[in-house]
């Protein structure tokens, strides 16, 4: 387990005020170790990307960080408090998760679906106000679906449904955004737009992002920190600029990657079979 030193600017924050603070975390699922001894702190504005092969436990780790399943050992604190101390409602005001799958057993309009995100901000007998509806319409506009507000979610395409889920999360307006494959089903232009939107939330809204991505180039561009899950509990965590290199990524995916550079940027491309 190698942990690469993070930029000094970030370590200047005392750990107690971190949005998310995981200490000595061990997570496993079905007898398989996902991480062991993970120490992770996310400050407002931080963007973390989780990379790893299929089935390595990225979603499991994200759910653990979201407080939805218990770690084997270690502690997780959200704004300095454990999930148990926060309770589900307060936790839902602070952290939001974009799930990998959207469950739509029943029909509902796009607007209704997005308004669900206001739940943690309403008290028990409250109904959504016009202000909430306004927020929902803004979120829909932000993901480019303003004109679909009245449509049934069952009539949407996969990519549109994914953006509705993202709008629901925007309406929830948490401080910590946990995104499980936010780019699934999205076209290239929407992939960039979604990552820019999320980055803007982190920058301007003092939020933190932790996201599972599959595109290493988007990951390199849109993250400050990277957590590589190698399997069997082994992980590497550090500044994206340092951790993401051709050697590590080749090992991570079990396929050779080459790095291509120009003056300002670098790209990783898989070596194609002959």
């Amino acid at each position: 387990m190698r942990t690469i030193k993070r930029k000094s600017v970030r370590t200047a924050h005392p750990a107690e005020t971190a949005l998310l603070n995981a200490r000595n975390l061990a997570v496993s699922i079905g007898g398989k170790q996902v991480v062991r001894g993970l120490n992770l702190a996310l400050q407002p504005g931080d963007r973390l990307v989780l990379l790893g092969r299929n089935g390595v436990g990225k979603t499991t780790l994200l759910h653990t960080l979201a407080g939805l399943r218990a770690p084997d050992s270690g502690e997780i604190e959200l704004s300095g408090q454990t999930y148990a101390a926060l309770g589900p409602r307060r936790a839902a005001q602070l952290r939001g998760l974009l799930p990998q799958h959207q469950g739509d057993a029943f029909a509902a309009s796009v607007l209704e679906t997005v308004l669900i995100g206001r739940h943690p901000h309403l008290s028990r007998w409250d109904w959504e106000s016009t202000a909430d509806e306004h927020l929902a319409r803004e979120a829909l506009a932000a993901v480019g679906l303003a004109e679909l507000a009245a449509r049934s979610i069952h009539t949407l395409s996969g990519g549109e449904r994914q953006r509705v889920a993202l709008a629901t999360l925007l309406v929830q307006a948490p401080k910590l955004y946990l995104l499980d494959e936010p780019l699934a089903h999205l076209d290239l232009n929407h992939q960039i737009a979604v990552l820019e939107l999320a980055s803007r939330r982190a920058r301007e809204g003092n939020a933190a992002l932790a996201m599972v991505l599959h595109d290493v180039n988007l990951a390199a561009h849109f993250s400050d920190q990277a957590l590589l899950l190698h399997g069997e509990g082994e992980h590497e965590l550090g500044a994206s600029a340092a951790v993401l290199d051709a050697a590590r990524l080749s090992r991570l995916y079990g396929h050779p990657l080459r790095e291509i550079r120009d003056e300002t940027r670098r790209w990783f491309v898989p070596v194609m079979p002959k």
């Binding site: 939805l68 952290r95 799930p99 028990r124 449509r151 069952h154």
Partner: protein, 334 residues
Amino acid sequence: MTFAATRRRALFVLALLAVAAAASLLLSLAVGSLALTPGEVWAALFGADENMAREVVRGLRLPRALAAFACGGLLALAGALMQVLLRNPLADPYVLGISGGASVGVLAAMLLGASAGFGLEAAAFVGALAAMWLVFGLARGDGSWTQTRLLLTGVIVSAGCGAAVALMLSLAPDQQLRGMLFWLMGDASQAGEPLPALFILAAGLLVAMFYARELNLLTRGPLLAATLGANVGRLRLVLYFLASLLTAAAVTSVGSVGFVGLVVPHLVRLALGNDQRLLLPAATLAGGALLTLADTLARSVIAPQQLPVGVLTALIGVPVFLFLLARSPRLEHA
């Protein structure tokens, strides 16, 4: 349409249903071998003079109408809750074996010589609770509590009860068969005191409304519900026991009336959408009104002969449902 306008429409539909429910009760008090005008019904209900109308309305028709209303409301509410619990719009209150358990209890009691009245109700309730605990215990066996496991357990327990019912029917002496069949199809004529069922209905609706917005979350899946702050484990327990108790109360008073619990929530959903805060009270009112109407027909269409009300709910409901389904602008209720 803005969200506020949608909600205004929904509240309007809710008000309409309340009027329909009141009208159905009034109709059931007026219709019968002694036909009464609304004014006469009013006088019989609240007037002071002792007469025949008063006897018929307050002694016979009112308890029966209220029992039918309560049972319809209970079944529709339980059905709506089961559909959320199992996240399946095709679930009904009987899918988890509650009515099967009640039927086994009642038929066993009949075979042992119990006739109408308290003995049968007790047997139905005990049978329903036994099935509820059996399914609960089996589905939770290893601590997991998934929809699929719950549904499968319920279906299997139901099937087992069905076999036991068939066995008892085949063993029953001829003179008991008719009573048994009527009970199985649902029959309000044997309903006892309606107040307990009405009370359970009101209390159940209140509890359901308390959790209504969390139920909305649960329809989107347990994971999303949990991230948005619902305690999913506790919510499912509440749902399971609430829906089961409501169903047990309904089958105890009127028997296993089919169709209401499946189709009324569906009809209401077509008209109002899926917001449980509107759907639950609307389904309760609509279910109550439907069963009251059906029971009124059941006792008056070929009077003095009575039909089992469960047959009529199906005869009324199936065409209405198919009609609505065919002309609903497919899932477009924004």
